[in-house]
């Protein structure tokens, strides 16, 4: 964990999940699992977030919302698909209003399977995501892009 340069903030959006994974994401923030010890805070603002936790699959109505939140987040950013619905639509795969996993709309970096995904698995997924985040940050440095600049660019 020594590679974490700053506190990663997460934003959570419920695609079309059954709530099971959402309450497990919230359970991660509470005293039993307490991800705040890693500096992780749940924020409501996409512009403050580094990690995007999506639960549930996407449909026609919410695909624009998912895309918007993703586009509003500053670079570098990581997307974690929480739960089997977010990975591949799971039990609802054959429903008429399901487009598929989150990766049919935005690029996903880490997949956390499970129905519902356990808090341990979600924490594990986020920690994996942090490694990806650091990698992306290093790549940006190599290319000579400063984070502050892209954040400003993101807001325009």
């Amino acid at each position: 964990m020594s590679y974490i340069a700053k506190s990663p903030w997460v934003i959570h959006y419920d695609g079309s999940s059954c709530n099971g994974c959402d309450i497990e994401v919230l359970a991660c923030l509470t005293p039993m699992y307490d991800v705040e010890r890693f500096g992780i805070i749940n924020t409501g603002n996409p512009k403050h977030a580094d990690v995007f936790l999506v639960t549930g699959s996407v449909n026609e109505q919410n695909k624009d919302v998912v895309k918007q939140i993703y586009e509003q987040m500053p670079e570098p950013k990581v997307v974690v698909a929480v739960g089997i619905c977010a990975c591949s639509a799971g039990i609802f795969k054959q429903c008429y209003n399901i487009m598929g996993g989150v990766d049919s709309v935005i690029p996903v970096d880490v997949y956390v399977p499970g129905c519902a995904a356990r808090p341990e698995a979600i924490i594990d997924g986020v920690v994996k995501g942090l490694a990806v985040l650091q990698e992306k940050r290093d790549n940006m440095k190599k290319l000579g892009i400063s984070e502050e600049k892209t954040e400003e660019g993101g807001e325009n």
Binding site: S16, C21, D22, I23, E24, T30, I91, F92
Partner: protein, 360 residues
């Protein structure tokens, strides 16, 4: 009078764990109209009856909602059992009642935490969820799942819970009572909490009846309606059940109803553990569903309705679910009219919205 402005609330909002969109038409700081729009989580799972047979359908219906998942599984299973004339053993009914009440406990504690978070009392939120983990540990120990259990099946339960574990559950619940008392006292007596809740979002008894409000929303407005009083599901008739009713109809009353139900659920579980008979927990089910059946049961959020219809094949013709939040949205729209903009999150939360249930 100021100019009318529309403020969008949701679908992604810090106070909402789930997406619902409400257009709030405000004049100065007062909401004059609230226009809800839903459909962000619609999956269309009732249509899956064409692709999943009736035994699998129980697990699909269970995944309507992760908070009241056991109740949904139970409702679907008993609708199918009713259509097939299957009599579930008494021990299974007792265990289902116990698991349903445990679900209610965890749902209400979750809600109390979210309410505390909505009025900015973060440490109270953390304490509610800390106690909730005790209930989740019990559920995990007995069913294997924390939020989705898949323990209910057509004909009974997938596995038994032995009497020793049941006694342990009863003792654990007795043990957390003191802690619960400490926390709920804050909700009931703390001045800053009362200032946010008392007199906010008043729903009169007449409106509650007129708008078909269900569950704690109706009971908070003085309508003593609870499906557990009827004897069509579970063993509530053996447990001397009395609904918790408050008269005021504001957010504070709805909060008090749910706090009352937390303690009531503990008592119900303890009584059920004392009275549970020995015996099998499932009966073999053969054949296909022929005919139709309707079941109503009391979810943590209110009355839910399950309808199953089959025509002698292994696939059902129709599975219909009507969920409690669906019925409470008209009441929400009513209480939002004329309220302060700052109170909107509080009112949205006190109907305990479960959007996954509403849209399915």
């Amino acid at each position: 009078m100021g100019k009318k402005t529309i403020i969008p609330f949701g679908p992604q909002h810090p106070v909402l764990p789930e997406p619902v969109h409400i257009d709030l038409v405000v004049e100065d700081e007062t909401v004059v109209e609230a226009i809800p729009s839903i459909g962000f989580i619609h999956r269309g799972l009732e249509k899956l009856v064409e692709k999943r047979d009736y035994t699998q359908m129980v697990y699909v219906i269970e995944r309507i909602c992760g908070i009241c998942s056991f109740g949904h599984g139970w409702g679907a299973a008993s609708a199918i059992e009713g259509a097939m004339n299957v009599k579930v053993p008494e021990r299974a009914e007792y265990l289902r009642t116990i698991l349903h009440e445990l679900s209610r406990l965890h749902s209400h504690l979750l809600w109390l935490g979210l309410l505390a978070d909505a009025f900015g009392f973060e440490s109270l939120f953390m304490h509610c969820w800390r106690i909730r983990e005790t209930i989740l540990d019990i559920l995990e120990k007995t069913t294997g799942g924390r939020v989705i259990f898949s323990i209910c099946k057509v004909g009974g339960l997938r596995k038994d819970i032995d009497n020793e574990t049941l006694r342990e559950i009863s003792e654990t619940l007795e043990g957390i009572k003191a802690e619960l008392k400490d926390i709920t006292t804050v909700f009931i007596e703390d001045d800053s909490v009362k200032n946010r809740l008392c007199g906010v979002g008043v729903l009169s008894k007449e409106d509650a009846i007129e708008l078909c409000a269900v569950g704690p929303v109706a009971r908070g407005s003085g309508v003593g309606q609870d499906m557990r009083m009827t004897d069509n599901h579970g063993v509530y008739k053996d447990l001397d059940f009395e609904p918790v009713v408050e008269e005021a109809g504001d957010c504070y009353a709805r909060c008090k109803v749910r706090i009352g139900e937390v303690f009531q659920s503990i008592e119900l579980i303890k009584k059920a553990v004392d009275k549970i008979p020995d015996g099998p927990v499932d009966v073999p089910v053969k054949g296909n569903v022929e005919g139709e059946y309707m079941v109503r049961l009391e979810q943590p959020r209110g009355e839910a309705y399950y309808y199953a219809k089959g025509a002698g094949t292994k696939f059902l013709q129709r599975m219909r679910v009507r969920t409690p939040t669906n019925m409470n949205i008209p009441a929400l729209v009513k209480i939002l009219q004329g309220c302060d903009l700052a109170d909107v999150p509080m009112m949205v939360l006190t109907i305990d919205p479960c959007i996954s249930c509403t849209e399915r």
